[in-house]
């Protein structure tokens, strides 16, 4: 972009700008307004959730972070009036309190609000587990596919079919992946609603992204590195292992970070394959180690969906809604931001 006069040059004050020049500058202003309108709309979302959710997650007094919200499981909130004061209590506290002084609560009307107390710790854990597992699967499959595409493949019907499949896989709606995962893993393989069903569903969903990104990174490695290695008598695989993959790896990983943001952010594929509305045990509380893979988990995006639309709305639910949305949005945004920044740096650093 070497044309430096991005805006029409300022005319001298003696001459009135021509009609064409005025039209042009107003056209450019229109473009600018449209662009900044989009940016502002997105900023509005970040600010709204950042402000209202930030008040739930952070607090003015030390330790400045609402630790219980991040370390406890969701609970039912009990609200009642006692001695003229409104008391809010999580379910566990409420039961303890009731056991301690039963006569005090005899004639008190208690209203309950599901999921409005406690925190979102199991949801965070569930999301992390889902992301880790699916990324391991997707990276293993995706990088190997990309190695084939960039190092071995010769043009032919198989490669054309392969590229067509990858391009089409990228366009399949996420809910269709959800249906597929449900039909294949949950029903046909009889894995039930489980971590492993969610892993495979999510992994297949991001596979095209990982393949495309990895192939780009592999192709960016200069040909000379390969030829040098081959000329010294290394086999094809030795060349790939020692002279191609190590140099492509940073590129592969940075591009995959964007895929992490995608995996973490999707709700539709895990709705029927991996996510539970509520579960009392933590994922590691299993009897046998194999059960670990075949248990459903609570996940942040699904929790947002549940608290935003499935339960009755009132003043008390808005806290947990905004708190969860805050944690979720800013985690995903941080991952995406890291990906974008890393990629920008990579492009500067590895320019052969």
């Amino acid at each position: 972009m070497s044309e430096s006069s991005y805006f029409p040059p300022r005319r001298s004050i003696l001459r009135k700008p021509s009609w064409a020049a005025r039209l042009e500058s107003s056209f450019f202003v229109l473009l600018r307004v449209a662009t900044y309108g989009v940016l502002l709309a997105a900023a509005a979302i970040f600010i709204d959730i950042g402000w209202k959710g930030g008040r739930v997650v952070f607090q003015a007094a030390p330790p400045f972070i609402n630790v219980p919200f991040l370390t406890q499981a969701p609970e039912t909130l009990n609200v009642f009036t006692l001695d003229g004061q409104t008391v809010k209590m999580g379910d566990r506290d409420f039961r303890a309190y009731k056991a301690a002084n039963p006569e005090k609560l005899r004639d008190v009307h208690v209203s309950t609000y599901v999921y409005s107390a406690g925190g979102i710790f199991p949801n965070i854990v569930g999301t992390v587990l889902l992301v880790l597992g699916s990324m391991v699967i997707a990276l293993a499959l995706g990088v190997c596919s990309a190695v084939y595409l960039s190092e071995y493949a010769k043009d032919g019907p198989f490669i054309r079919l392969l590229r067509l499949s990858i391009a089409n896989l990228a366009g399949v709606p996420s809910i269709v992946f959800g249906l597929f995962g449900f039909g294949l893993f949950v029903v046909a393989f009889d894995w039930n609603v489980s971590l492993i069903a969610g892993w495979f569903t999510l992994a297949f969903m991001v596979l095209p992204i990982i393949i495309t990104a990895s192939e780009e990174a592999l192709r960016a490695v200069p040909k000379g590195l390969r030829e040098g290695s081959l000329a010294l008598g290394a086999t094809k695989f030795q060349t790939i292992r020692t002279n191609v993959l190590p140099y492509a790896l940073p590129g592969i990983l940075t591009s995959s970070v964007l895929a992490i943001a995608r995996v973490a952010g999707e709700t539709a594929p895990i709705m029927f394959t991996a996510a539970y509305v509520v579960r009392d045990q933590m994922p590691w509380q299993v009897e046998q180690w194999t059960d670990f893979f075949f248990q459903g988990v609570m996940a942040l995006p699904y929790h947002i969906y549940v608290v935003a639309s499935k339960i009755p709305q009132n003043d008390y639910t808005s806290d947990v809604q905004y708190g969860t949305a805050f944690v979720f949005l800013f985690t995903v945004a941080a991952i995406a931001l890291a990906a974008i920044l890393l990629r920008a740096r990579m492009r500067k650093k590895y320019r052969w």
């Binding site: 991005y6 473009l31 600018r32 071995y152 952010g265 809604q321 974008i340």
Partner: protein
């Protein structure tokens, strides 16, 4: 590149053989490199396998739908529910007349009140129309009595048929356990199976109970025809022009209904209980059915049309927002903005695409829907069609958020397309004295049009496949949008294909007709996305500019 590097190993092979001796590793006559290559090749083939598995799974689960729905429709016909529905439609259409009359009365009374007349005077003036209202309601009484008795009968027949089917299934399950069971157990199963009573419903006699009511219906219709004629003749006159127009519309509607009565009667006569339900009728009921009614006591309908319309409708609204904004932003960033601004805006817009859809949906519920409704209630905006909005969550709320999801896709691809326009074209135009705006609009934009079209198509694919935003914000009312409302149709709540799958999949019985219907919707979505993708690739390949 791949071709010439692939030559290298075979060339070095003979050298290695001489220098280092032959490779030790051999399996089925193949060396290690061959196996490694096969490993990578197999990995790459997984994409194809996954695509095939998706096709296989979706179609396998959906396959039972057409025969299942055929059976569903067959029971509907055999048990006479279809016959009853002819009468039901008549009473429903009639109820619409009543609503029209009430609306006219309301408009009239408001008009009179606006003239400042006292309440007693208004009541007196509307007395004639009130009498007609009562008469209109009374005239259908006989029909309603017949209808409710017929409904009771038909639904009891259907219930018996259903119980019969269930019992047959129970028996089948018991019998299927016999092979492979121990002799005693098998005998026990056999006796249990024999004990299952399967009632064979005699459709002919049951249908006769219904069709025997036809003379009664005819008599009621004769009565109704007379009444309608009198009511239409007795409609009062109004001096205000708007009210008079409404009254004449009402008179027309009454007359039309009166004329339609013989046609409705002939429908009863033409109806045959034993007409078979064809494969295409079953498919049509899905593809062109206007009702999606599930878990109903009367009859379940799985018509995808309202959902399909809802999905396409929302997508079109959101594209109407996203295309201008996305392309303007691409033009601005690529052609106008200084490099510093460019470096900031591009990642920012890409960053927008990382906002999880469920968060956008939540934002729509919590903030955008309410804000839009408050805006729509502002007095000086009431000229906009559809304002003030009836519902907080509607097609527009969802579409506005979806537009924000589509903009990054459209922006990124359109910006790429603009970037790929050869410099020479632009420079030639500028050198000929065109302004920068002229160059942009007449040279750069048309040259990049194929890429931009592909960008729009992919944006469309992204929007139509999006689930959480429409599930949370579209209002979820299953009805074909009422396009008679003009542009205000954008503010009606709709339901979508993705939304219905997400909403109902968790609650259906596995293997039921409803479950298969949802997979049918999934198949439709899948095929739609394949078509969109294919179209986008075709456009890009077909109209590719020669690169300089």
């Amino acid at each position: 590149m791949a071709t010439d590097t692939a030559q290298a190993p075979s060339a070095s092979h003979s050298v290695r053989k001489q220098l280092l001796g032959p490779h030790k590793f051999r399996l089925f006559g193949r060396n290690r490199d061959w196996w490694i290559k096969l490993f990578f090749e197999g990995n790459a083939a997984i994409s194809i396998v996954v695509l095939l598995l998706i096709v296989f799974t979706l179609f396998r689960e959906a396959a039972g739908f057409i025969p299942g729905n055929r059976q569903n429709l067959e029971v509907y016909r055999r048990a006479g529910l279809e016959y009853v529905d002819i009468l039901r439609r008549q009473t429903e259409d009639y109820a619409a007349l009543g609503r029209q009359l009430s609306a006219t009365r309301l408009a009239w009374s408001e008009h009179l009140r606006a003239q400042g007349l006292p309440q007693a005077e208004i009541t007196a003036r509307l007395d004639a129309i009130d009498t007609l209202d009562t008469r209109l309601a009374d005239a259908i009484g006989t029909h309603q009595e017949i209808l409710s008795e017929m409904i009771d009968h038909a639904s009891s027949v259907k219930e018996r048929v259903k119980v019969g089917h269930d019992m047959a299934e129970v028996r089948q399950n018991l019998l299927s356990g016999i092979p492979g069971a121990t002799p005693e157990h098998a005998a026990e199963l056999q006796t249990q199976a024999d004990a299952v009573v399967i009632e064979e419903v005699d459709y002919a006699t049951e249908i006769n109970v219904l069709t025997n009511r036809f003379p009664e219906i005819q008599a009621a219709n004769r009565n109704l025809t007379g009444e309608l004629g009198e009511i239409a003749a007795a409609l009062p006159q109004a001096d205000d022009r708007a009210i008079a127009r409404q009254l004449s519309h009402l008179a027309d509607a009454l007359r039309d209904f009166r004329k339609s009565i013989p046609e409705r009667e002939s429908e009863f006569v033409r109806w045959r209980a034993d007409r078979p339900v064809s494969f295409f009728e079953s498919l049509n009921a899905f593809a062109f059915g206007r009702d999606w009614i599930t878990a109903s006591f009367w009859q379940d309908w799985y018509g995808v049309l309202p959902l399909f319309f809802g999905s396409v409708f929302i997508s079109l609204i959101s594209l109407a927002i996203a295309i201008p904004l996305g392309i303007c932003a691409a033009l601005y960033v690529n052609q106008v903005a200084p490099p510093g601004e460019q470096r900031l805006i591009k990642p920012y817009i890409e960053f927008i695409s990382a906002i999880p859809s469920v968060v956008l949906g939540f934002f729509g519920i919590a903030v955008l829907g309410e804000t839009l409704r408050q805006v729509s209630q502002v007095e000086w905006l009431s000229w906009i069609p559809g304002f003030p909005m009836q519902e907080r969550l509607n097609a527009f709320t969802a579409a506005a958020l979806l537009a924000l999801m589509a903009i990054p896709t459209i922006f990124t691809l359109a910006e790429d397309a603009l970037q790929n326009v050869p410099r020479a074209l632009r420079e030639a135009s500028l050198a000929l004295g065109a302004t920068r705006m002229q160059t942009m609009l007449r040279i750069t934009l048309p040259a990049a049009l194929s890429g931009i079209t592909a960008a729009v198509l992919l944006g469309f694919g992204r929007v139509i496949g999006e689930t959480m935003v429409v599930l949370l914000c579209a209002g979820n009312r299953i009805a074909v949008p009422d396009f008679t409302a003009g542009l205000g149709v954008a503010f009606q709540p709709v339901h979508t294909m993705t939304g219905i799958v997400a909403q109902e999949m968790g609650e259906v019985v596995r293997g039921s007709l409803h479950y298969r219907a949802l997979f049918m919707v999934g198949c439709l979505l899948f095929l739609l996305s394949l078509g969109i993708n294919y179209g986008a690739q075709k456009i890009v390949r077909h109209y590719r500019l020669p690169q300089s």
